[in-house]
Subunit: 214 residues, 4 copies
DNA sequence: CATGAATGAGTGTTCATTCAT
DNA sequence: CATGAATGAACACTCATTCAT
């Protein structure tokens, strides 16, 4: 029975390394930001040496991109599918989308990297472009699609698509910044539940979109 | 008579040194953030040597604190007076407040240090507490006062005060972040004018607050 | 009968491993020099893993020495025989020798390791001594023999043996350095064919050696 | 008399720093090559810290270029002037040029950086290009000018300009390589004086250039 | 025998801070 | 007061070498 090769220690560890590093990197990027996170610290938190980190990721920037792909791109694309399959009114869809995004992304540790990019994009243009292309654009497109669907079905009226998309995203980003910045987190989080804030905001927006004269 | 010093040009410059450094630091902190701003660059922009900067400010962090103290408190307290003196409905007041805040603070360079503090607060706990106490709390109190006034006058109904205050602040912060982060500025700024966004949002909120059943 | 192992494909490869590594190392040492050649790249080009390289060679330096031993000694000793058997004048012999050396060694990839040793000898004293003993000395002796034969036969006159030997070697080394250094190859190689340069130089030397008064 | 400010310690050192660093860098580049010379070691040899080196030179590569400009470009351009002013036959000029170049450059420590570039050009293309443009090209042009002058004056005949220029440079480079590579230096230098080698070679070339039929 | 995951010392470069002038 | 030369700790990234499998 020892003949059937189960993965040995060496082997098993190897397979888990990237994931462990990604997790450590997520923690630290969220905690300290990109520039202030030292590669060696990421490695240490994952229980490996500095050299090992660079065995799996070409550079700190690539490590970061991998973290983004793993933690931010995924939730966005999940939203795309759900929107396509959603049965119900566009108002319901919009509310559902906002609440689910918060539940699945905004309220998680992963949302900290959105805060991080917004904070440091100016100093790392390449990362900004990456985030722009992989996260912002898809998310905005998704939302505008929903709004346009609502308009063509006569459900939503008298609104500017781009502005309204921003209005939907704004409270999400506000909560994310609040959650991850010690300059804001003590004001918002204790006073109310974020889901309630989102729900209220969603209600407000849908109401506004449904009103006859703008 | 020589006792009463008539300030010479050289003398005046000397006395203005800290102010010039503060201004240079504001520019650079807004542009690059705290960590990425080099002390030498600040000194150079102020027209003095690196050594001189450390003559007036014990450390880069002290310089940072001085910049925050100088630029962040004033705009908030101005709002307090105007609210007290405002003649008109609470809905009008709320809209006025939001637009004026944007005009006088959000749209200026100074708002960049709000972005900067939110971005880097985690790495500078003292600043986070300072910003919380001096900026966030007063602003929130002011807003909640307006909302409560509206409720007691029967103008606003069916709302949670804290949540609604957040809903008012959120678009401001969203715009400030957008304005100062390349991760967001390209999506927002070209699509619409910030004042329009604020106006639309104010309208949405006031409408929502005025609706009979929530 | 199973005792006499018919080399299987896998078996043959195993036995050829060192040779393949040596060849890969030759290529890379010639291309990049010793210090800039990475062990992993050598292994990869030989189609084995990094660990395997260190199975056959204790260290990168040992690999280097093996490459030198394998590639540098042979071409020199071949010249010795031919000189002994040559029929014709010493002038003809000298010209023949110079052209053949270029053809059989200088113009080949192998000459790159001469360039490499000359370039990096200072950082690897053992190799310098080895090259000195195994390559330089025999080559110089061979040449001086030819020159002395020419003098004793009355064909060559009025020359210093050591200096003239150097004069014969100099253009060879010059061409080898030119061929393998981008600092020189663009000036030399496009302007003329190396063989022409050698031929001209040989002609010049033989003419000079044959002139009555120096 | 103490009123007249003589440079103080701090000041005097500053003025000498670049020179001291350049000298230390020359020593080490010649001794170990570009890649193997550590910036910190250069600084240490100049008696300063690593940081100070980068105060005066943007990068190791810039340091190197400065060394080249200081030690290699200068001797070449000196040659240009002298050629312009030379009174005498082109044969005399050519011999003079070769001997002087050896005396003023080849025989000095500075020539080691020519060896160094030839050795490492492949790994540092930018340096190779720099050396090509600043050193090789001017030197070759200078030589070809002399040869053409000789031809137009009827003194030199039946030769290819490029090839002959190479033939003039070759022994110089050969001696430089010999002098600075432990793989060669023990063979050449003890057997003859380099000046004699150069003289003999110069004689050989001039004789060849002056012969009626090639 | 062969692998390739893991290591950690080493390198060029930056920058806040100090201090002699 | 003001300067700017000097420092040295820090950091991302590399690579020869080892060793468990």
């Amino acid at each position: 029975m020892s003949e059937i090769s189960t993965p040995q220690k060496h082997e098993r560890r190897k397979q888990h390394r990237p994931g462990e590093l990604l997790e450590a990197a997520l923690d630290l990027f969220v905690e300290k930001g990109f520039a202030a996170t030292r590669a060696e610290e990421v490695a240490a938190r994952a229980g490996v040496s500095k050299g090992t980190l660079f065995l799996y990721f070409q550079s700190k920037e690539e490590l970061f991109k991998a973290v983004v792909r793993e933690n931010v791109v995924k939730p966005v694309s999940e939203g795309v599918e759900e929107v396509a399959n959603f049965k119900g009114s566009c108002g319901q869809l919009l509310k559902y989308l906002m609440l689910e995004w918060w539940r699945r992304y905004g309220s998680t540790k992963a949302s900290g990297i959105s805060k991080m990019i917004i904070s440091e994009a100016n100093n790392f243009p390449e990362l900004a472009a990456f985030y722009q292309a992989e996260v912002i654009m898809p998310a905005v497109s998704l939302l505008q699609g929903v709004l346009e669907r609502g308009r063509s079905q006569g459900e939503f009226k008298n609104f500017n698509t781009e502005q309204t998309a921003m209005a939907v995203i704004a409270p999400m980003l506000f909560l994310i910044m609040s959650k991850h910045s010690s300059a804001l987190c003590h004001s918002g989080s204790k006073l109310m539940k974020p889901e309630d804030f989102i729900a209220q905001h969603a209600e407000l927006i849908v109401r506004g979109l449904s009103v006859e004269n703008a």
